[in-house]
């Protein structure tokens, strides 16, 4: 049983700052910002920003059951009140000087048999029509449509003999007893709403059925049996969508297939009291249940209409809590987006609340970020912080792709320069590849070993010899044992210390280091090759060079004092003071000189020293027992850190993929990963799903940046290294006469491009061209512009009319191939040489074939996109 004082809220249809609360009486409020100059003492805070002021109270109508606000602009504050006895009274709030309003206020509409008025609905178009839904009476109608402009006409009523004006007050001239329409005999009406798609149609929630009454033919009605008959309401955005409810369940109906609900929402444990579509947002339904402090929202924005039987509708359900207390009722604001006023179940506490829209967020393929919230779209791009953008891997990759990083396949080492040349890891990995390539060229047969990494190379090491060499330029026998083997030699070469040849001479390497002014490193390498004099000479050179560091001379002096006497002061001081040297190479030099034989941890684990130098060092001074252990340890370290320098050790093996995986996890640099791994063996490494994933992602990135030329180059490069990645031909040109593919018979033609079919791609004009089908010898179609048969190279055909264009096409040699391609519109099927078509559509929108009005180019969604890289 409904409580008589259950509050409800109605927004003024025309004043966005006014609403009425109805419980036992009607209260008109004005909402405004708090703290404004007009704030009065009586203002009730509704939110942090807004407050309400009570403008007027109306307690003239007792036993109120339902209220509806007159929809027209004037009179502005006219309300219809439905009472417990079924009477409908027009009343108003506040003063109105409108004469029309004065005439209407106080007017009463009385049904033949008294019973509760459950619902009221003004016709949205013909605002004189007011529909009232009443409880059941055995002899009466439950839907009465009153004409508020009608005058009381006693003659009409007296016509019925049964009327007796005794106890009931029909003497007043303001009482109307004759409805314009009477519908739903011997039935009960619980809810009403006029349909927006046709204002002559009234949807009514009757006892156990929903009925649509048509005022043009009141003897007919469309109805569907259902329990969900309460609170019928039409979606203001989708006029065929209706919501109704029964107890805890909301049913959504599509009036176009009014047989059963198109969907029912999750049932709530408590009965629903209000269901309302948001007027400012498409497909948002708010529901309230009894004794609840939350409002449940159902977002049907992305639910297809009509909802198909097969598809599972997508509804996003969530709830909001506008206030702490239990909610009596709520009302959406008519124009302010997603805003509502909520009134508490007790004490008329009001809250102004805006439902926050869910945010959807998207990264662009460049560095900007966009998010949508409600009707607003925010674009966020980093400004000022140049460094931050530069550090961003996406920006880096994009810049690198633009500078053709990875595309120099002849001089692989140059790629690190293309990448910007600042990253030592990249440099290292590319230098290594370069070295490998050199080896490859020279050795040919040892390919497998070369790519398998030093880790595997040293494992296969055998026949190691040990030698104790003298310090260069000194007679003293060194007690440092040095190891030699063919594999160790290969490793040294891969580390870049020695070049190919029987003599293991580091001099070339030293000179190149000197050239690059890497004095400390050069000195260290010289020292490790037991040439202490050369080391001192290098340091000296470094000190005296332009902008050289004079401290290098001091180091040279310290070095020259070297003694192998174990207990000397020199040894003692150097082994402790070396740690204060900032340059790691200087530091490891003294570590080497002060180490016990075979215990070179001070050198081997100095992480600031390049991996290849440490590995080369290890290959020279670690025994067969020590070396693999050290290499394994270092490999694992590199793999964990995702340090690209470690590729030297792992090679492009599965180990290498593991290493690259942690590198990609750390940096997101799929670009380097893709290029590196393409070099790996097609069998094992390229088939690794991780590698395929990097490659696909890199291609997608290039697509997203519209770097289509780069993408194509990458694909070509990839196709060369991994022939299995080449896509099969997907489009063939078939002869109109015999239906056979003409490309098929010329299978020697390399496949080029995707989505295009081409024929006669050879740029050479001298080559003979096939202009007829090789199968049936019938001529091939003609280009719509030059009228030459397909297959004829464009450079051969005389372009009539536009001599300028001819020059253009012949000059652009590169383009000539593409210009020869045959292309056609998928819509009108007209076509011709790609070059001709492109130039035609530069100035025209319609198809070049006369009488064909097809707007071919506009239909081509990708044809209008421009690549952002140049070829």
């Amino acid at each position: 049983i409904m409580s008589g004082s259950k509050p409800d809220i109605l927004w003024s249809p025309h004043h966005p700052d006014r609403y009425v609360i109805c419980d036992s009486e009607l209260g008109l409020y004005r909402i405004g910002p708090t703290g404004g100059s007009e704030t009065k003492a009586g203002a009730l805070p509704l939110s942090e920003e807004t407050a309400a002021t009570l403008l007027a109270i109306n307690s003239d109508t007792p036993y109120m059951k339902c209220v509806a606000w007159y929809p027209k602009h004037e009179p502005e504050c006219l309300l219809a009140v439905g009472q417990a006895n079924g009477r409908v009274v027009l009343t108003s709030l506040g003063q109105s000087h409108n004469t029309a309003c004065k005439e209407l206020v106080g007017k009463e509409f009385v049904p033949k048999h008294a019973r509760q008025c459950n619902t009221l609905a003004w016709n949205p178009v013909d605002s004189n029509l007011l529909a009232a839904g009443l409880d059941k009476h055995r002899a009466d109608f439950s839907v009465l449509i009153w004409d508020i402009s009608s005058k009381f006409s006693p003659e009409a009523s007296v016509a019925s003999e049964k009327i007796r004006l005794s106890s009931v007050d029909l003497d007043s001239s303001t009482v109307v007893t004759k409805p314009l329409y009477e519908l739903g005999q011997n039935d009960a009406c619980l809810s009403l709403c006029w349909l927006l798609r046709d204002p002559k149609l009234l949807l009514a929630g009757m006892h156990r059925n929903l009925a649509i009454f048509d005022l043009r033919n009141t003897s007919q009605k469309t109805f569907v049996n259902t329990k969900a008959v309460q609170g019928v309401t039409v979606d203001p955005h989708v006029h065929d969508r209706v919501a109704s409810f029964f107890e805890g369940q909301v049913a959504i109906w599509d009036l176009r297939k009014f047989e059963k609900p198109v969907l029912t929402l999750t049932e709530q444990p408590k009965p629903l009291t209000k269901v309302a579509w948001c007027p400012t947002r498409n497909g948002l339904l708010a529901t309230l249940t009894r004794d609840s402090n939350i409002i449940r929202l159902y977002d049907m924005q992305h639910t297809p209409t009509p909802i198909g039987d097969e598809t599972e509708p997508t509804i996003i359900e969530r709830s909001v809590q506008p206030c702490e207390s239990q909610i009596g009722s709520f009302a959406w604001h008519p124009s302010s987006q997603n805003r509502m006023v909520v009134v508490s179940a007790a004490n008329r506490v009001m809250t102004d609340f805006t439902v926050f829209e869910r945010i959807s967020l998207a990264w662009s393929s460049t560095t900007s970020l966009m998010w949508a919230c409600g009707r607003h779209l925010y674009d966020c791009s980093e400004d000022g912080a140049e460094g931050a953008i530069e550090k961003d891997i996406a920006t880096k990759m994009r810049q690198r792709a633009q500078s053709r990083y990875g595309h120099d396949t002849v001089q692989v080492w140059r790629n690190h320069l293309l990448a910007g040349g600042k990253d030592s890891q990249l440099k290292s990995s590319h230098m290594k590849q370069c070295a490998e390539d050199m080896e490859l060229k020279l050795q040919g047969n040892k390919q497998a070993v070369v790519y398998s990494g030093i880790k595997n190379i040293v494992k296969t090491s055998s026949g190691t010899t040990e030698s104790r060499r003298c310090w260069s330029g000194s007679d003293r026998q060194s007690d440092v044992p040095r190891y030699h083997s063919e594999e160790r030699c290969l490793a040294l070469r891969l580390c870049g210390w020695i070049s190919r040849g029987p003599d293991i001479d580091v001099e070339i390497f030293l000179r190149s280091l000197e050239h690059e002014r890497e004095w400390e490193r050069a000195a260290a390498v010289a020292l490790f090759n037991l040439d202490i004099r050369r080391a001192i000479q290098i340091l000296n050179k470094g000190a005296t060079a332009d902008k050289g560091d004079l401290n290098l001379n001091v180091v040279a002096m310290a070095l020259s004092g070297y003694t192998d006497e174990k207990s000397s002061l020199w040894r003692e001081m150097c082994s402790s003071l070396r740690l204060q040297l900032k340059n790691p190479y200087l530091c490891v030099m003294f570590a080497f000189l002060t180490s016990e034989t075979g215990a070179y941890d001070g050198v081997l684990f100095e992480s600031s020293v390049a991996v290849r130098d440490r590995v080369a060092f290890a290959c020279m001074f670690l025994s067969d027992a020590q070396l693999p252990r050290y290499i394994d340890k270092l490999t694992n370290e590199m793999k964990e850190a995702g340090n690209l320098e470690g590729i030297l050790l792992t090679g492009l093996t599965k180990d290498g993929v593991d290493l690259m995986e942690s590198y990609v996890d750390r940096t997101g640099d799929v670009q380097t990963a893709s290029f590196c791994m393409l070099k790996g063996s097609p069998g094992d490494v390229l088939k690794d799903p991780r590698v395929q994933c990097w490659i696909e992602n890199y291609r997608n990135l290039l697509d997203a940046w519209r770097f289509w030329h780069k993408r194509a180059e990458f694909d070509i490069h990839r196709g060369k290294l991994d022939p299995s990645s080449k896509p099969l031909a997907q489009v063939f040109v078939s002869c109109n006469f015999c239906g056979k593919s003409i490309s098929y018979s010329c299978s020697a033609m390399p496949h080029q491009g995707r989505g295009f079919s081409q024929y006669g791609v050879s740029g050479s004009p001298t080559k003979s061209k096939v202009t007829s089908c090789p199968g049936c010898r019938k001529p091939l179609p003609r280009c719509a512009l030059c009228l030459m048969n397909m297959g004829t190279p464009v450079s051969n055909c005389p372009v009539t009319g536009k001599s300028e264009e001819k020059v253009d096409l012949t000059r652009e040699n590169k383009l000539a191939q593409f210009n020869n391609w045959f292309t056609w519109c998928h819509n009108c099927r007209h076509g011709g040489h790609a070059g001709h078509m492109l130039s035609w559509f530069r100035d025209h929108t319609e198809c070049p074939v006369s009488a064909c009005t097809c707007k071919c180019m506009q239909l081509d969604t990708t044809g209008n996109l421009v690549p952002s890289d140049s070829s």
């Binding site: 006895n85 079924g86 055995r138 049964k162 007796r164 106890s167 009931v168 039935d187 009960a188």
Partner: protein, 325 residues
């Protein structure tokens, strides 16, 4: 045009005395409750839920079979040309055919609608009889489910005994005027004391006996209260009505008044069929509206005050030539 037909949950009819009924007036959780006071006794009609709450008593006489209420729901098509409503409207389509099939009916008219109660065992016959003219639905948990009857032919044959000539019962037409009214359930508490007072503590006409002795002979005490599916219906005479606050009770805007025709000289029992038809048929022929309330002992028809003379004549004629129908 088909008309749906509703069947409510099971209902039982009991007869009891003041004390029992009083302590059970609070049973508002049952969906079907009707209490009618007549000079002879109180008649209570209530559903099984309510019956379970009723304390057994030696004063309670229970009609042991289960009755199902039927309710004709108009689908709102073409408002009929006839002004008549209620029992009269369904006299030809429902009541007469059921009488022909020897189905005993118990009528209960309310402000909102007319219930025709039939015995559960007669259901298949009822469905078989009515399905030609109506769509029949069964109400299961608030949902209307189309009802299908399997052995209709059998049931119909079984009931088609040889027609016995219907007994013509004597009628009594008291002088008091009756109102049929309703009430907002929310305001029920505010009239509860008046209601209890009128039902159980005022002796009605007997108290007035001294002031107007003539009334005593011609008026009978009759008061009916029902609360069915949340809807309240009240039938009382104008004397009783005066005790209620005027603005709370719902009635017709024309303030129509009704006169009663009580059917039966001796208690009618529950088995005889065709009693309602006897009255409703001639009323339907003359297009006169009627309420009809059956009780444990007698049946009561209410007809518009202005039509009582026609009705009296009609019934007298019927008694003169009982074979006319």
């Amino acid at each position: 045009a088909y008309e749906p037909f509703f069947v409510y949950s099971n209902t039982q009819t009991v007869d009891g005395e003041k004390s029992i009924v009083l302590c059970n007036l609070g049973i508002l959780k049952c969906k079907f409750f009707s209490l009618t006071e007549t000079p002879e006794n109180y008649t209570v009609v209530l559903d099984e839920e309510g019956f379970k709450e009723l304390q057994p008593s030696e004063h309670l006489k229970v009609e042991s079979s289960i009755w199902l209420p039927l309710n004709v729901v108009s689908n709102g098509n073409a408002s009929s040309s006839s002004q008549a409503v209620g029992v009269t409207k369904i006299a030809k389509s429902v009541i007469a055919p059921l009488a022909q099939q020897h189905v005993s009916v118990f009528m209960l008219s309310t402000y909102q609608t007319d219930f025709i109660l039939v015995r559960e065992k007669d259901l298949s016959v009822v469905v078989g009889t009515l399905e030609e003219e109506f769509n029949i639905y069964e109400e299961v948990g608030g949902e209307s489910v189309p009802m299908l009857c399997q052995d209709v032919a059998n049931a119909l044959q079984k009931n088609a005994k040889e027609a016995t000539r219907p007994t013509v019962h004597p009628v009594l037409i008291p002088q008091n005027q009756f109102c049929v009214m309703s009430l907002d359930p929310d305001t029920l508490p505010s009239i509860a004391t008046t209601l209890i007072d009128v039902l159980f503590y005022s002796n009605g006409p007997k108290e007035d006996a001294q002031s107007s002795p003539s009334r005593d002979l011609d008026c009978i005490k009759f008061f009916s209260f029902s609360l069915i599916d949340g809807y309240i219906s009240l039938v009382m005479d104008t004397e009783a009505q005066r005790q209620f606050p005027a603005d709370l009770l719902f009635t017709s805007s024309s303030g129509e008044l009704w006169r009663m025709v009580r059917i039966g000289g001796q208690p009618l029992g529950f088995d005889e069929c065709g009693i309602v038809a006897q009255i409703s048929q001639p009323l339907a022929d003359s297009d006169i509206s009627a309420y009809y309330i059956s009780t444990f002992s007698f049946d009561h028809a209410l007809v518009p005050e202005e039509d009582i003379v026609r009705v009296t004549d009609m019934l007298q004629n019927q008694r003169k030539e009982p074979a006319a129908s």
